[in-house]
């Protein structure tokens, strides 16, 4: 086990650079406040008693949370979002993982150009993708906008992330492990199943979780491709048109908590996944 690195003694500093340092420190606090104070108020107001959120705080209530399940429109939107996210994550992970292999392993022409082309949608503005999809799907192919078109739009967004994450993992993969497996009598399919997939599993899992998060949060592309259905971000948007309500604050707070949990899980999977996985395996084995 790695020992935590000893904290390095800081170099001696002049009075002036100490002052500069303190100024930067203060500035970073301002930036943090700018980032998080609005969110803090969002969470705070989701517990606000009054129907019109605002200072001063009049009283604490959980009503906005407890009444959420009775809002059938909201529940429908959440269900829609979850179904879409799961399908998007499954397809993006599967296709993206398969696409990552030739990108890293060669066997295609111009791999670098291909990589840029595959990951370009990350850089493109969402509104461009949204308009493009509407023009293509509804305008050209004459397809009715529905959950399916939303899924198509989200795939455009999430697939590049899957490819990037899995390709990065494959890049560092020691091919000699595959040689060794083949050497010991494993055919190509067995090598993938027993050696490659288990070793890149943390990356695949992280990619799937990121896809889910991206899909649930996505507003712009969804807005263009959704038709008459509602997803969670679209629902929140429609509500907010009539002024911010405490229900929206509560929903937004829940979404935020969910996202933080998912991100935590991703980090855990990506950094500790293998170790944690092994610990579980050991425990299971030991228990037998």
């Amino acid at each position: 086990m790695a020992k935590p690195m000893d904290r390095l003694e800081t170099m001696p500093v002049s009075r002036r650079s100490r002052a500069t340092r303190n100024a930067f420190r203060a500035w970073s606090l301002v930036v943090f406040a700018f980032l998080y104070v609005p969110i803090a108020f969002l969470v705070l107001f989701s517990f606000e008693d009054s129907r019109t959120p605002g200072l001063p705080f009049t009283g604490f209530t959980l009503d906005w949370y407890t009444s959420l399940p009775e809002n059938s429109q909201l529940i429908g939107a959440v269900a829609n979002s979850i179904v879409i996210a799961i399908i998007v994550a499954a397809v993006a992970t599967l296709v993206g993982t398969m696409a990552a292999f030739p990108l890293v392993r060669g066997g295609i022409r111009w791999p670098n150009a291909a990589r840029v082309a595959f990951t370009m949608p990350i850089m493109l503005p969402g509104i461009l993708i949204g308009v493009g999809l509407v023009v293509f799907l509804a305008g050209t192919l004459d397809i009715q906008l529905s959950q399916l078109t939303v899924i198509a739009g989200h795939l455009v967004l999430t697939m590049p992330f899957v490819i990037l994450i899995v390709a990065a993992r494959l890049q560092g993969f020691d091919r000699r492990l595959e040689w060794a497996a083949a050497d010991l009598g494993a055919g190509p399919a067995t090598v993938i199943r027993r050696i490659v997939l288990p070793l890149i599993a943390p990356a695949i899992l992280a990619a799937a979780l990121i896809s889910i998060t991206l899909s649930i949060d996505e507003f712009v592309v969804t807005f263009f491709t959704v038709g008459s259905q509602l997803t969670l971000p679209i629902y929140i948007y429609t509500q907010i048109k009539f002024g911010v309500t405490p229900e929206v604050n509560a929903v937004a707070t829940l979404v935020m908590v969910g996202t933080i949990l998912a991100l935590g899980l991703i980090t855990l999977v990506a950094t500790r996944g293998r170790r944690a996985g092994r610990a579980v395996v050991r425990r299971v084995r030991g228990g037998r």
């Binding site: 000699r176 040689w179 060794a180 083949a182 050497d183 010991l184 009598g185 494993a186 055919g187 027993r194």
Partner: protein, 367 residues
């Protein structure tokens, strides 16, 4: 399997990577049960040779036979050959026991038989106690032994080892050399062992192929390679050598080598047929060379005069460097008793003679 069938046979094997010729028309026959060493400097094609035999890269031309069967196009998982990779290539997500069991599972060996053989081979490499550890919880030497057990447990016809001791410190290395030799005697599998450490090759191999730039410079037993190097490259690469160049001619007591200074150095009688007048080089190992103020009297000695310019005390022996008309000659003398070290030490900056028995002279090709 009849014993005269070679375990591995390369016939005019060539491997090119684009413009680089990694292996250039190499032929070799390795008999069953041999401990065959591929020895050579970096980039000479050792790993390429193993990768060809293992089936990880295809031959450009020529033929590869394993136990008499032509296997040029057989994928690795169908070859009766197993490899210990230079970096061990243990599966990091599997325990030691699972690593070793992997090959057996691929062969369709079932349950208790797998466990039994895994235990047997972990016992052989002395790691039974660590069978539930993961590879990264092992030291380098232990990982190496797991890699060995993993390959051996399949009882392959041939075991390929690519510098398996390269990453180990000297002590562990010596220990593993002994262990490998023991395992080889015990399992009687053909070993093809890659190294660029000549000491390792000399001490373990039954036969050595010295490689140079994609070709085999010489093939032979360790003693043949050491005492009868085919050319200057081999002589230089294996051990330390003194080279004395001159023109052969006929002296009063037999053939001699005439140096540029006019000095005449006796040659072995068997070399009388050397073309006179043409440049020739004689090689002699430093440990065969003696040094002193006066040479021993009588025939049978090759003698050159010179000046001792360096004396280094190395504990068990002293190396004396002498500048002669034929260039520097190094004498490496063991001290049977401690006064001998002092005597050799006193030679520094003296006019001395170096001499050796003419039987130790080897006439070699330039190369």
């Amino acid at each position: 399997m009849p014993d005269d069938l070679p375990a591995i046979e390369l016939v005019h094997a060539t491997k090119r990577y684009g413009d680089t010729v990694a292996l250039d028309d190499v032929s070799m026959r390795i008999a069953p049960g041999e401990f065959y060493c591929l020895l050579g400097p970096s980039g000479c094609g050792k790993t390429t040779t193993l990768n060809l035999i293992g089936g990880f890269v295809p031959l450009t031309s020529g033929e590869l036979r394993i136990e008499g069967q032509q296997v040029n196009d057989l994928p690795p998982h169908k070859r009766n050959v197993n490899t210990v990779f230079q970096n061990y290539a243990l599966f990091p997500h599997m325990s030691v026991a699972r690593n070793v069991a992997f090959g057996l599972e691929m062969d369709g060996v079932k349950g208790p038989e797998v466990e039994r053989r895994v235990d047997e081979y972990l016992e052989l490499v002395g790691l039974l106690a660590l069978k539930d550890r993961l590879p990264q919880q092992l030291s380098g030497g232990q990982q190496q032994r797991v890699a060995l057990a993993r390959a051996l447990v399949k009882r392959p016809a041939v075991l390929l080892l690519d510098e398996p001791l390269g990453a180990l410190d000297l002590k562990l290395r010596k220990q593993m050399q002994v262990e490998l030799a023991r395992i080889h005697r015990q399992v009687r599998t053909t070993f093809v062992f890659v190294t660029h450490d000549q000491g390792e090759a000399l001490s373990m191999a039954t036969r050595i192929a010295v490689m140079d730039a994609g070709r085999i410079a010489q093939e032979g037993t360790p003693q043949e390679i050491y005492y009868q190097p085919a050319d200057r490259f081999v002589a230089d690469f294996i051990g330390e050598s003194n080279f004395v160049a001159g023109r052969p001619s006929q002296g009063t007591d037999g053939p001699v080598l005439e140096l540029a200074s006019g000095e005449r150095v006796a040659l072995p009688a068997a070399t009388a047929s050397l073309a006179t007048g043409e440049e020739a080089t004689v090689m002699v190992r430093p440990e065969c060379v003696d040094v002193g103020l006066e040479p021993p009297p009588g025939p049978g000695w090759a003698v050159i005069r010179g000046r001792a310019i360096g004396v280094s005390f190395l504990g068990d022996l002293t190396r004396v460097t002498v500048v002669t008309a034929a260039g520097e000659v190094v004498a490496s003398r063991p001290h049977a008793e401690r006064s001998r070290a002092a005597a050799l030490g006193s030679l520094l900056d003296e006019e001395v003679s170096v001499w050796w028995s003419t039987a130790e002279s080897i006439v070699i090709r330039q190369g």
